[in-house]
Amino acid sequence: MYEFDWSSIPGALPFLWQGMQRTLEITAVAIVVGIVLGTLIALLRLSRNWALSNLAAIYVNGFRSVPLVMVLLWFYLLVPQLISNLVGRPAIDIRLLSAFVAFALFEASYYAEIIRAGIQSVSRGQVSAGLALGMTSGQTMRLVVLPQAFRRMVPLLLTQAIILFQDTSLVYVIGLAEFFGVAYNTGNRDGTLVEMLLFAGAVYLMISFCASMLVRALQAKLAS
């Protein structure tokens, strides 16, 4: 019978908390940048300009067709080179920066598709009404279509954020000490890998579950 040894958890808690802050940082940056960039890409994708629309399609399909781990590694190998060529060695942790960039760009491709669908779900008549009042097409998009589209998309955007939150654990491949990485390293060091991973899993489960409940509550509120 396997004897569980939970003794290394209490001592590791401060580091785990630091790791969790990293995790949340990456998640937050990826959500914010991903939604802003995703909206831009969705608008390009829907634009009547053939070249712009295709460019956006290539971006979206490109990122959605490669594994996230690979994107992370590419950016880890690429971004530091680029940045030190441009501005010299930056002050910020290069691994964290490359994780920010990789997640933001990767998530943008997923958010772009959600947002595109949201924009298309707003009826043509609403666009006509905006235009008929003398709004430009930009104003119609900003004042009429996007507010309605985002309202409908909130549950989907949050669901994507939950997936993203879990996916951040992948940054352990570039040696960044986020929550999962800290748990893994501590477990490895103390020979309590199984316990640490079980604990980490329980934390992910709890946070994601609570967030899911929130999404469901929101959905119910939106439906009413």
Partner: protein, 244 residues
């Protein structure tokens, strides 16, 4: 006020509008009728450039829709439009529906826009509903808000695209009443509708369309007394048997 000159439009192979021409003078009320699929809605949407056409020309208040230097948004802000399905903005309160374009398009201050909006809501008898969302109103109320929203822009003419077709019968009258008031105040109006009672009461002229053509364009008394064509005759006998 509105000149439609030999306008033709195609959807791919399908010829939707065939050489349509008409003149609508300031203060005139023109009712456009005809069987479904005859191109009435398409024609009225061409007048404010919501639909493009391939041939011909439309002038509104002396400004050509087709000219390269025409500011289409500005022109549309001067022509009010009321849609079959109301198209109120569901994420905005009634009062905001009436102020948003005033502020963002005409650059009015919020107080000024609100004052104008409240005055118009009073005219359509909906003052009590200013702070509600469109979804909390009945269809007839929503359509009256939509009329007020268009009027808030101080338009020189109003276009109505089947304004009562999506309404329950008991709500049609409240919308038509507002339109009658407008007509009597001298608003230039182009109205696509099957409401022949409305046409008899306030229209100056009737345009009858069929298969994308303007078949008749005559003063209403002539039109109702003796339609000049068999097609108009048939159409009238069909709808008048239920609609007097």
């Amino acid at each position: 006020m509105i000149s439609i000159r030999k306008v033709s439009k195609w959807y791919g192979e399908f010829h939707v509008l065939k050489q349509c021409s008409s003149e609508i003078a300031g203060g005139e009320v023109v009712v456009v009728c005809g069987p479904s699929g005859s191109g009435k809605s398409t024609l009225i949407k061409c007048v404010n450039g919501l639909e493009v056409f391939q041939e011909g020309e439309i002038l509104v208040n002396g400004v050509s829709l087709c000219a390269r230097n025409t500011n289409l948004s500005k022109l549309r802000s001067q022509v009010g439009m009321v849609f079959q399905h109301f198209e109120l903005f569901p994420h905005l309160k009634v009062i905001q529906n009436l102020t948003i374009a005033q502020c963002k398009v005409l650059g009015r201050r919020n107080e000024e826009a609100t004052e104008k909006a409240l005055k118009l809501l009073k005219m359509v008898d909906l003052s009590a509903h200013a702070q509600k969302f469109p979804s909390q109103l009945s269809g007839g109320q929503q359509q009256r808000v939509a009329i007020a929203r268009a009027l808030a822009m101080d338009p020189v003419a109003m276009l109505f695209d089947e304004p009562t077709s999506a309404l329950d019968p008991e709500m049609i009258k409240e919308v038509l009443d507002v339109m009658v008031i407008l007509a009597k105040e001298g608003m230039t109006m182009m109205v696509v509708t099957h409401e022949m009672g409305f046409a008899r009461e306030v229209a100056n002229r009737i345009i009858f369309m069929d298969h994308g053509e303007i078949v008749e364009d005559r003063p209403k008394t002539d039109f109702f007394r003796s339609p000049g064509t068999d097609r108009a005759q048939q159409f009238l006998s069909k709808i008048l048997s239920h609609n007097v």
